[in-house]
């Protein structure tokens, strides 16, 4: 596993991100092959899982105020399952309608998706609201999917030119 904590001072996001690319092939609870994951950490630094029923993390995610005053995750782990990408690249082929996508490009698109979970303000606000018992129906997957798809489209276009 390659592990590289990013230096928060070099980005506009205050979150300390642990970015992992693992050779593991991973499966979700429901048997789906897992390609990537974003986990917020609690105040003790523990990476949290997701509670399907409450639609929020299964613990208290820790937040900090970013430079612009926005609420951001204090710490998060992003994991890209390279083993899953290598085991079934066809999932991404069909997902992006791109028969020429490579595993490396897959790592980029999946990473883009997971990074959006870490930076999309509406998504962060939704998670915080739910954690505080407030209703917030925001679909946190749509923004991540949109940015991921845009990255995939740009990679495809760039490759052609």
């Amino acid at each position: 596993m390659r592990k590289q904590p990013l230096d928060p001072s070099r980005s506009s996001n205050a979150t300390k991100v642990h970015f992992n690319i693992t050779k593991d092939e991973k499966f979700d609870k429901d048997g789906s092959r897992l390609y990537g994951l974003h986990q917020a950490h609690d105040k003790h630094g523990k990476a949290l899982g997701w509670d399907d029923k409450s639609n929020k993390f299964d613990g208290e995610a820790a937040f900090v105020k970013g430079k612009g005053g926005n609420i951001e995750y204090k710490e998060a782990t992003i994991t890209i399952y390279e083993g899953s990408i290598n085991a079934n690249l066809g999932f991404l082929v069909s997902r992006y309608n791109d028969p020429n996508i490579t595993p490396s490009e897959g790592i980029v698109t999946v990473g883009t998706h997971e990074n959006t979970h870490d930076t999309d303000q509406d998504s962060i606000n939704a998670v915080k609201d739910r954690q505080e018992g407030k209703m917030n129906p925001t679909d946190v997957e749509s923004p991540a999917k949109a940015v991921e798809q845009k990255a995939a489209d740009e990679i495809k276009t760039k490759r052609k030119s």
């Binding site: 789906s32 974003h38 399907d52 029923k53 639609n55 997902r95």
Partner: protein, 194 residues
């Protein structure tokens, strides 16, 4: 495919040599695409048309998907983009990768769903005399049809079929006959709506 040819012409307009080469490649791609799948064996159904109709069904059932992917679910001549199709009467007959060529056969029962587990609301589709009978989102009771209704319907349809019990079991366990991937910590759009 016409768009590909058009873009090839547009992109390479600055150089005749490159242009000719790219046109040739585009033409080759067109030919190879045409040749990949044999025509659908049942003349009642045209593969590309059925794939397109199934994509439309999914877009109607799962409008949230197009927020992330503006094109939504769609198909080209032989591929399902963003979703899979599995024939529950013969699970080897499927469309889950760009190497597959699913056959659409009258009377057969199919499991159709998005490959992304978050958006994956399962549809049971029966081909009937050129038309599609669809039981929508059977894994999401708040917004879909009941799986039991799909099972009763298929059971009645297959009353005289020797494989009836086996096929009904597959409909009941439709989730096993699917190809899923996930980039999410959220379980499914169904739970999200609840």
């Amino acid at each position: 495919m016409l768009l590909v040819l058009f873009l090839s012409l547009f992109v390479c307009s600055s150089s005749y040599t490159i242009c000719a080469q790219q046109k040739s490649e585009a033409a080759k791609k067109l030919e190879s695409d045409k040749a990949r799948c044999k025509p659908n064996p049942d003349p009642l159904y045209v593969r590309s048309r059925v794939l397109g109709e199934l994509a439309n069904v999914l877009n109607e059932s799962i409008p949230e998907y197009s927020k992330g992917v503006p094109k939504g679910f769609y198909s080209d001549t032989e591929n399902a983009i963003g979703f899979f199709v599995v024939d529950l009467m013969n699970p080897a007959n499927k469309q889950s990768t760009f190497h597959d060529c699913v056959d659409f056969i009258n009377g057969h029962v199919y499991h159709v769903a998005p490959g992304d587990s978050y958006y994956s609301l399962s549809h049971i589709v029966i081909l009937e005399e050129g038309k599609l009978k669809v039981f929508r989102s059977v894994n999401c009771p708040p917004r879909g049809d009941r799986l039991e209704d799909a099972i009763s319907y298929v059971s009645a349809k297959l009353a005289r079929d020797k494989q009836r019990e086996e096929i009904i079991n597959r409909v009941r366990n439709y989730k096993k006959y699917g190809f899923y991937g996930s980039l999410h910590h959220a379980a499914s759009i169904c739970e999200h709506r609840q």
